[in-house]
């Protein structure tokens, strides 16, 4: 739990921000410099073993970053405990759900591609 409190959370938020920035910069560079992006090319990129891992890392960073940011907003603005706890649980369930969906989708497509 300490991973999501105090200094660790603050550090994690910054590390995931750098990861997200790298992905955005790389993605933008690919669109601007690389050949035109087609569905087939995008599909091949995402379902390749390296691509799948990178997409999983991207969503992992996004979910962790989102968790800390949304938790901060709830801690700042939502005072009553009976609202705060369900709201935090909802955010956690949504983010974990997104992560599971991403991993399952990637796994399914990797199997098909394989």
């Amino acid at each position: 739990m300490r991973l999501f409190l105090g200094q660790r959370a603050w550090m994690l938020q910054r590390v995931t921000a750098v990861v997200l920035l790298l992905f955005v910069a790389t993605g933008a560079a690919m669109l601007v410099v690389g050949p035109p992006m087609t569905y087939d090319r995008w599909f091949a990129l995402v379902t390749s073993p390296h691509g799948s891992v990178l997409i999983a890392v991207l969503f992992g960073a996004l979910c962790l970053h989102g968790w800390i940011g949304l938790r901060d907003i709830v801690l700042d603005y939502v005072k009553p405990l009976w609202v705060r706890l369900p709201l935090l649980s909802l955010v956690a369930v949504l983010l974990i759900g997104i992560m599971i969906r991403v991993v399952l989708t990637l796994a399914a497509h990797m199997t098909i591609a394989g």
Partner: protein
Amino acid sequence: MRISIYRFNPETDDQPRMQDYDIALEHSDKKLLDVLMRLKNLDDTLSFRRSCREGVCGSDAMNINGRNGLACLKSLSELKEPIVLRPLPGFPVIRDLVVDMTQFFAHYHSIRPYLINDETPPERERLQSPEERERLNGLYECILCACCSAFCPSYWWNPDKFIGPAGLLQAYRFISDTRDRATRDRLAYLDDVYRLYRCRTIMNCTEVCPKHLSPSHAIEQIRLALVRDSA
């Protein structure tokens, strides 16, 4: 000169109100506090704190035309009319411009604002090198006027749990003091989702400090010290 002042007496008023005063400037009126003192002579029900009238005691902090500042340091020439005076935002109002600073000072005391060193003291004094002493510049000058904390949205949201820029600046003053031996304990106390990490680096504190100090820089340094400490 027209001055609009927040008036509230909890014993007689249901709601606060703004009261306008028109006062002719005199040659001796240089700072806002000079006019306030003359207004007080005309209307002795007007309440505000003041003491040293030279920016050292920090007791006449108030919201002046929407920004926190010290009435004794604010030149009349730089203020647009009508001058609107309100109590420090986010603080409970006791009466007119006088606010309750109890919580603010409780936070200040919580960071243990004194040197902690159990080692036997030397015969004369604990010496520092000029470089070590230099590190305290920009930290020890804080007069605890609360202009920064009362201008910090994070402090408005969590005044009971977030220590606030003034308290954290003071905390860093003792963390960076080479004579102090409780750095680890101090950092461990601050490593809390509320006490330190409610700061969103909005930097209102640095912008509004009448002593030109930078609490947001001190807060950043505490965060970096915590990273180094955990590494």
